[in-house]
Subunit: 274 residues, 2 copies
């Protein structure tokens, strides 16, 4: 390591990084925090995203390859004490590596071009852990992009970044579009806009059998507790519910999203034959 | 309420209930704690399961129907102070209602008879929140029963009970069978035993197209971090992976289980036609 050691939690650089735990500061700096070797590796893979790297002596030892790679890329790296890492990290058991990253989100028109096949929209999703899990699932299911509307949680929230398990760095993420402008843009991009809602008239099986999911699709997922507002349900092309075969009242958001996105992924790869 | 008021956290009855937060005491008493009106309602629906009910004055007021129903069923009910409820409840914002419940699990042979169509097995699952979410998803997907092997988390753990959102009360749950005895029992019950594992040779789509999932199926889900041990992978009929189409390394346990169980649910209802 380049010998720069920060041992005080009052060091201006530590304080500047620590502030990124707050959304207001993230917005101002266009930077966020990501913990652990996986996040560092993913950030390094994207040009110019890794802005600063903090490591404990132990982590520095264990991840020499990553530290060397960061230094080679000209990323300022700092060795910090366990106390400083505990102050910086947002987890109970910090992994000893903390990255300050530049925002990775892209503009909506960029995310929708070239013509996407599968898009995931989070509208009014408030729990950052849920949002991160949906992001990871959307990535796994082959979603071309993930859109967080203005009423959804910040994708750069530490819990969301962690739950995404690196997926925040894998696919184009869009933040902040208003829903009333978003729906026409999705339709213009050739997507059938389908909202997942427990009150949907069509079940997922019905939609599948009808061929609704065979073409390019944007899935819209709503709030954990109360779902989606009327104005969204009225504006989309279809409202579909995941069928409940047993006694459960509902599925949680992330599992419902997994079922919907994988049903689409399969339908697009093996369309119904009439 | 029958006028029995407990205002001290040192009341023997409060202390006896509080101890049920620990697995050793749950095992000894064959009782567990469940919080909130939904859990109380579910427990009341099962004869003899609700053993004791604690309520704050506020919750008593809000849920008069439930309190009356419990008293009618001869369940000892106690009004407790906010302080006592905070001591009893395991959540940051307790809902004011806490039930002491008798264990609801059943023996394996009972859970497998009559011939089941869909069975969910948790092997080496350690996180109670994940286990509860899988239980809820298994219920939603129409699983006939859920089996926690001896190496898995306790389904009566408070976090598991909460994450199950009532499903612990909906379908037969089996706890504690050893895996080497379980597999033959599942096969004897006419089930194809399929393990979900990221290293599986067959993808879920391949298994679906081959008709593997059309008949009665037991799904086995493993540890969050390291999956399933060799001995289990060798003993099952098939090892299947959920396909990853994007950059994600894997899915989390609960979302992978949701995709597998719903794929089975659909396959059983609409089998492939050759």
């Amino acid at each position: 390591m380049a010998g720069r050691e920060l041992s005080s939690t009052r060091s201006p650089r530590v304080k500047a990084a620590r502030r990124l735990a707050k959304r207001a500061f993230r917005r101002r700096e266009h930077r966020f925090l990501a913990e652990g070797p996986q996040a560092v590796r993913e950030a390094l893979a994207l040009n110019g995203v890794l802005a600063e790297l903090f490591a404990t002596a132990e982590a520095e030892n264990r991840h020499q390859d990553l530290i060397a790679q960061a230094e080679k890329a000209g990323v300022p790296t700092f060795r910090v004490s366990g106390e400083v890492m505990a102050e910086l990290a947002q987890t109970v058991t910090p992994q000893g590596l903390l990255a300050v990253c530049e925002f990775v989100d892209v503009a909506l028109d960029k995310a929708l071009s070239p013509a996407p096949r599968l898009v995931t929209v989070l509208a009014h999703v408030r729990d950052p852990g849920n949002a991160g899990t949906v992001l990871r699932t959307a990535d796994a299911a082959g979603s071309d992009s993930v859109i967080f509307t203005d009423a959804s949680v910040d994708p750069y929230n530490g819990k969301c970044v962690r739950a995404s398990a690196g997926s925040l760095f894998h696919l184009p993420v869009v933040t902040g579009p208003r829903f009333d402008a978003l729906i026409p843009a999705l339709k213009d991009a050739g997507l059938t806009v389908v909202a997942a809602d427990g009150a949907g008239e069509a079940s997922l099986d019905t939609a599948l059998d009808a061929g609704t999911l065979d073409g390019p699709t944007a899935w819209v997922f709503g709030n954990e507790a109360w779902g989606l507002p009327e104005e969204i349900l009225n504006a989309v092309d279809e409202v579909v519910r995941v069928p409940i075969y047993g006694g459960a009242e509902s599925l949680n958001l992330a599992t419902a999203a997994a079922v919907c996105l994988y049903t689409s992924a399969r339908a697009q790869r093996a369309p119904r034959t009439p």
